[in-house]
Structures are given as C-alpha cells and as structure tokens.
C-alpha cells in the first residue's frame, strides 16, 4: 500500500534523506508549506486514494477531527529522533526557531522569503517579537550551513545552538512509524469494512422489510458488496419513531429521497434514523465502535448510498405500480362481463376480450387482425342502417342493434363506440363495448306479452260482467213486460236503472286504460242522461252538472253514481208535479281530500213534517246506506226546493 509522508518544509531535506534508507518505491514525501496549521487545510479534503497518509510533525488538529485515513506522528518524537536527548517541544514553546543545515545550504532563495516575508527587516521584526534563539540541526558537517546559520543568528540578534542530526536514527524511526501506520490502517480498514457491512446490511434489511424491495435491493446489495468487498446478508428488522424530527439531508441535489440523521449517541456507538420521503423507515443501530471517528465514516457512507437506495426504492415502486396497473387493467379487460373490442384507426381489431369472443362466437385468434366491419357489417339502429365506419368516426355512439354472429345466430346487442386517443397522441383507437341483451330483450318481450295477456284477461272479465249485466237487464225487461201493476213496473224500472248505473261503470272501464281511477265528469253526465231518459218524457225538466277536475277511485265512483242516480230519480218522481223544473248536480273539491256532492232541485221541497227515518222510500234508504259506505255525511235542506249535501273523503 503506497505511503505518503506529509512533513514540515523545515525538516523536509532530513526526512527525504532518512527515507532513502527505507528503500520503498511507493513512498512519497510531500511538504506541508505554511506551518502546522496548513495540515488542517491540506489534509482535511484529502480524497481516499488508497494510500496510507502519515503526517510527520506537530498537528494542531484533534484526533477525532482528523480524517480517519491520515495517521499522525508526533512532531516532538520526530525531532527526538533527529537530536536525541533534547527537548525540542520545550524549545518550540519558548519560541526557538529551528534551522536545518539543508535549509541553509542553498542561499538562492533567502530563508525569510521561504518563511513568507519579502524583506529581511520584516522577518527580523516578526521573529524578534517572540523568538529567543535559533537552533541549528547540523545534518551535513561539510556544508556551509553552519556558517550561514551563525550569520543569520547574528543578523537577527539571537543566540544559536547547534545540534548534530542523526539521519540514521531518523531513518529507523521513520521505518517504525510507517510500519505502525500500515498496521493501524489495516486494522482500521478491517474494522470499517465490518462495520460498514453490518450497517449497510441493516439498512438493506430495513428497506427490504418496509417496502418488500427484494428486486430493487439487488442493485443496492450489489453496490454495497462492491464497497465492502464481501457478501451482504439480509436480515430484516423495522422500527418506527415518529417523535424524531430528522435533520434534513438532501440525498440528491434537487430532491430528498432518503434522509439520515443521528438519533442518539451512545457510549459504544450510535443510532441512525433512516427516513424515506419523510416517513421513518427504520433505526440503524451501530454498536461496538472502538474508534469514535468511524461514525463520520458511516454517515458518509450512508449519505453516498442514499441516492442509490432512494432511487432504487422509487424505481421499484413505480415499476410495481405500473405492473400492478397493467395487471389490473388486463384483468378488468379480460374479465369484464361486456365484450370489448379495440380497433386501430384503420378499423383493424388489435385487442378483444373473452366476453367479446363469447358474444360474437368468434375464436379470439380469429378476431385479432380482422376488420371490424366483418363483425358489425351494418348497424341497424331504430330502423336506420349505418355503415360501421361512419359510426366509428363519431367520437361517441351508443345504440341497440342486431348482429348476425359467426354461428349464424342473431343476437341483440347494446353497442357503445368510443374514440380513444393514444397517450402519445399518435393515433386514434376505437373501443367497441358490446352487451349481449338478447335474453333481456326476449324477457322484456315475454313480459310485455304477459302484460298484454293480463290486460286481455281483465277486458274479458269486464266483457263477461257486461254480458251478465245485459242478461240481468234482459230478464228485468222480460219481467217488466209481464208486470201486472204500475207499481210493479216502476219497481222494475228502478231496478233496470240501478243495474245500468253499474253497467255504465264497466263500460267506462272497458274503454279506458286506467282501471284504478276514473274521471267523474263524463261518468256522472252519462248517469244523469240515463236517469232522465229512463224516467220517461219529462221534457220540462233540465239537469246541469258542475264537476271540479278531480279523479276518484272506482269503488267510490260507483257508490257516488248510485247516490246521484237515486237522488235525481227521486227528484224526477216527487219534486216536479207539473213536470217542469231544474236539477243541479255539483261535485266540488274541499280542503284536503274532502269532496262534496250537492244535488239540488227547485221543486216543491220536502213535505211538512218530513222525517227521513219514517220514510219507506227505497231510494232514500239506499242513499243513506251508500253515504255510510263512503264514510260520508249527509245533509238535507228544504229551501226553494230540496238540497242534498253529501261530504266525504276520497281515499287515495
């Protein structure tokens, strides 16, 4: 492993000379110009280039601030090696300036310029402020260095002490220092490698469990393995600590995918929180850290891994989402109950689902690639025929049509055509959705037929009722012809009238589609005419009808009609002895569901002492019964004729 020695320029020649005896071709010596402070500046940003860096000299940086790959050798130790038995550290603290023989050997560059001064006077002024003496390390006794040192000391007005440097001792010392650095570097790397492997493995485990990123972690593991040079085993654990607010760390320049923060430091290690897209995804516990400065390495490693991990997670998630969507879309497409056919802009079928093949009775393979007009030669929609292509040109079309399938069977389908634009806008596709409604249409027709049959049945029942009523009327008519007395004839006439009121209702129902409600206007008018006609030639009597626009239930209607028939018939019998007069029938709507029927005549009125309860008239009895059937109330007023008021509630 190459060695780089960083040393102070003041002893650079001595170090160079001593290093030659080490006989190492991979040894490089670099001068740290500018004094000990420059070590901070120069060694700090040193890239890890695979070399062992050894700082030879006094370093103001604390050990834990020094990059882990830089090894330091104490300055004093170095001078001890050069001049055994002398306390170089003390001299330096006392402001003793060191001069080496090599330094003074070459006077092409004045020494004060090497120190950074342009003029000798400036250097003298600077040195005299704190310096007490010059110390000269004489490496080469044959050089002019000593003479020059004496002259310099004289110029600066400082005493000079001379020591002989022992290069051989320095060589031995350097040899030992390099060995020690190599050894500790090996231990450091091994330890770091193990720690990194553990750490990265934990990261991977957490990510793996949290996101089930087996596939994406192949990339990450590959990356990790390349760094640690060993196999990464995955064992999963997961944590969550929502109370921890992580320090934001931008994994990439423009976005934050993974953030890492030190959650806590422990005596023997630290916990790192790992966050993905602001969600805590795990806790990385690093224990058994012997060298505190390794922590920085872990963070550094994770920070460098963060974009890779984050991007892998993101890519995998997108891929999974995309695959899931594609899978879902395919599932929906294939398992949709409706047939779906997709055709390109040239009407060629590019996709079809199972339902389409089933409805059309085509094999899937026979459909793909065919022209759509083969499937839908003509669209028959509401007696209009259209070419499929004309319809497909519309952005949206929907209609019911009959198609002849491959097996020659006609089917009724609901066809919906939709234009679809491809995501890249390159071409249009037409999506044809087909619902087989053959069975529904058949069921609908069967239902309509059944309904029609029931309607016919109801009509037939009405027909039978009417026929039976006709038979009853015929019997009454025949009976009337055999009547012996006028009373008998009247009674039979009343019966005929009463039956006809019922018959009229059936007539209305038979002619109407509505068998629940009835418009009373026409019905009552009919009844009125019938009563007037059956009563004989009372030409002087007129009847008028006023009816509010209401509909009433059949049951109420027939009861109401019977009441009107009885009351009007009663009027005709008793109110107009002279055969002249008028009858008013009114059906009005009151508040709520209440209705009021008024039958009023301008006849002779009720006889004095009229008591309804004592009456034997069947008509009035019937009216009383019918009013109670309606849950109504009846009022009789004898004033300018007779007025019957019946108030009742029309249910529904």
């Amino acid at each position: 492993m190459p060695i780089v020695l960083h040393t102070c320029p003041s002893i650079l020649p001595e170090v160079q000379k001593a290093a030659t005896s080490l006989s190492r071709s991979d040894l490089e010596i670099r001068a740290l110009c500018g004094g000990p402070d420059s070590a901070t500046c120069m060694l700090g940003p040193l890239e890890r280039d695979g070399s062992i860096h050894v700082l030879v000299g006094r370093c103001p940086m604390q050990h834990h601030d020094m990059p882990a790959h830089v090894h330091t050798v104490d300055w004093a130790t170095c001078y001890e090696a050069l001049a055994p038995g002398h306390k170089i550290d003390k001299w330096l603290d006392d402001g003793v300036h060191l001069l080496t023989s090599t330094m003074l050997h070459d006077d092409s560059i004045p020494i004060w310029e090497r120190w950074g001064f342009k003029r000798l006077e400036d250097a003298i002024e600077f040195v005299r402020e704190g310096a007490t003496a010059f110390v000269f390390l004489e490496i080469d006794k044959n050089s002019t260095g000593r003479n020059r040192a004496e002259k310099m000391a004289d110029k600066f007005g400082l005493p000079l002490q001379v020591f002989s440097a022992e290069i051989e001792r320095l060589s031995l010392w350097l040899h030992a220092a390099v060995k020690e650095a190599e050894s500790s570097e090996e231990i450091r790397r091994l330890r770091q490698s193990n720690a990194e492997a553990t750490l990265i493995s934990e990261v991977a485990q957490i990510l793996f469990k949290t996101y089930e990123l087996k596939n994406c972690l192949t990339d990450v593991c590959g990356h990790i393995e390349a760094i640690v040079g060993g196999r990464v085993e995955i064992e999963v654990s997961s944590f969550d600590f929502p109370t921890v607010k992580p320090v934001a760390f931008d994994a990439t320049e423009d976005r934050t995918l993974v953030r890492i923060d030190i959650v806590s430091r422990r005596k023997d290690g630290f916990d790192l929180g790992l966050y993905f897209e602001d969600h805590s995804v795990g806790l990385i516990r690093v224990s058994d850290v012997l060298f505190p400065d390794v922590l920085g390495q872990y963070v550094d490693l994770l920070e460098r891994l963060a974009p890779t991990i984050g991007e892998a997670i993101l890519r995998h998630r997108k891929q999974q989402l995309s695959q899931a969507r594609e899978h879902l879309a395919e599932q929906i497409f294939q398992n949709a109950p409706n047939g779906i056919i997709v055709s390109d802009s040239g009407s060629r079928i590019v996709a079809a689902n199972k339902a389409a093949a089933r409805i059309l009775n085509f094999k899937m393979s026979a459909l793909i690639g065919e022209d759509l007009s083969m499937v839908f030669p003509v669209i028959n929609h509401q007696a209009r025929s259209s070419n499929y292509h004309e319809l497909a040109d519309q952005s949206e079309w929907q209609g019911q049509t009959d198609i002849i399938c491959e097996d020659g069977v006609q089917r009724t389908v609901l066809l919906a055509l939709r234009k679809a634009v491809m995501s890249d806008h390159s071409m249009h596709q037409t999506i044809a959705m087909i619902s087989d409604i053959t069975d529904q249409v058949a069921a609908e027709q069967a239902l309509k037929l059944s309904l029609r049959e029931k309607e016919v049945l109801v009509q037939e029942v009405h027909h039978r009722v009417k026929n039976n009523l006709q038979v009853i009327l015929s019997m009454l008519s025949l009976q009337k012809r055999s009547a012996q007395t006028e009373y008998e004839e009247f009674a039979l006439n009343d019966s005929v009238r009463r039956v006809r009121v019922m018959a009229k209702l059936y007539e209305r129902l038979y002619q109407s589609d509505n068998v629940v409600d009835i418009d009373p206007q026409e019905y009552i008018s009919d009844i009125l005419q019938d009563v007037l006609q059956s009563a004989g030639a009372l030409v002087g009597v007129t009847a008028t009808l006023e009816c509010d626009p209401v509909t009433i239930k059949i049951k109420s209607a027939t009861t109401l009609a019977q009441i009107i028939s009885e009351l009007v018939s009663n009027c005709l019998k008793h109110a107009f002895p002279d055969g002249r007069g008028s009858i008013e029938v009114k059906l009005g709507k009151l508040d709520g569901d209440m209705l009021r029927l008024i039958v009023q005549d301008d006849g002779v009125g009720l006889p004095a002492g009229f008591d309804e309860k004592k009456l034997k008239s069947m008509g009035i009895k019937l009216v009383g019964a019918l009013v109670s059937q309606l849950d109504g109330e009846k009022k009789i007023v004898s004033e300018h004729g007779t007025r019957f008021e019946i108030t009742f509630k029309e249910a529904g």
Binding site: H463, N467, Q470, V471, S474, S477, E507, Y510, Q511
Partner: protein, 135 residues
Amino acid sequence: MSKSRILIVEDEAITALDEKESLEEMGYEIVDIVDTGEDAISKAGELRPDLVLMDNTLKTEMTGQEAAWQIREKFDIPVIFVTAKGNKAIYDAANYGKVTGYIIKPFDHEKLKETIEAALRGELNPSKNWKPLSG
C-alpha cells in the same frame, strides 16, 4: 207498410229473447234467432232479412265480425253489432264498412230502436266518415 224483418244473432238465450220481444213491441218482425256465425250467414242468405242484429262473441269460433263481413259482402244486408266489447276493433270494423253500426251492451231499448231505424233508413251507410252512435 210491411214490417221490417230482422235476424237476431245472439248466443245468450235470455238476451236474445229480450231483444226479440222488445223489437216485436217496436213493430219489427223477427225472422229467426241463431247463435253461430255460420248459421247467421246461412239464414241471412235464406231469409234475406232487412237487417241483422249481430252479437260479436258467438257459440262457434267464427266471430260476429267475420259473419257480418260475409253477410255484407254476399247479401249486402246491413248489420248492427250488439256487443259488450266497445273496443277499437269494433270501431274500426264499423268505420271500414264491415258493419253498419253498433250498440254497446248493456243497451237500452231506446238506443236500440234509434240505431235500427237509422240503419234501415240508410243513414248509417258505411263510409270512412261514419260516426258511431254512442251505445
């Protein structure tokens, strides 16, 4: 003036009897009462009545409409329908000349007389503008 002669086609015996007595009271002569379409055609050809009073639903499958159509086609005898079915089919049949007029059951005798008289006077000659009397 001789009595107008009427053939009654009705499968309800009581109704037929009532019609017969009523019409006789009104001064018509009832030539016969039959209860099938086939008999109606046969008797119409044989007896040549002035008018046929025809029920729609008869004993056999042949309907009154069909019998009426044939009677009109073969013998040009006016036919008045007496039916409990006041439906569109009857109305159309009357309008298109298959029957001369119609009365809806249950009828009253006055309406029956009015319609018969109108038919005998030729006022109900079938045409597309014919308006039926209400029953």
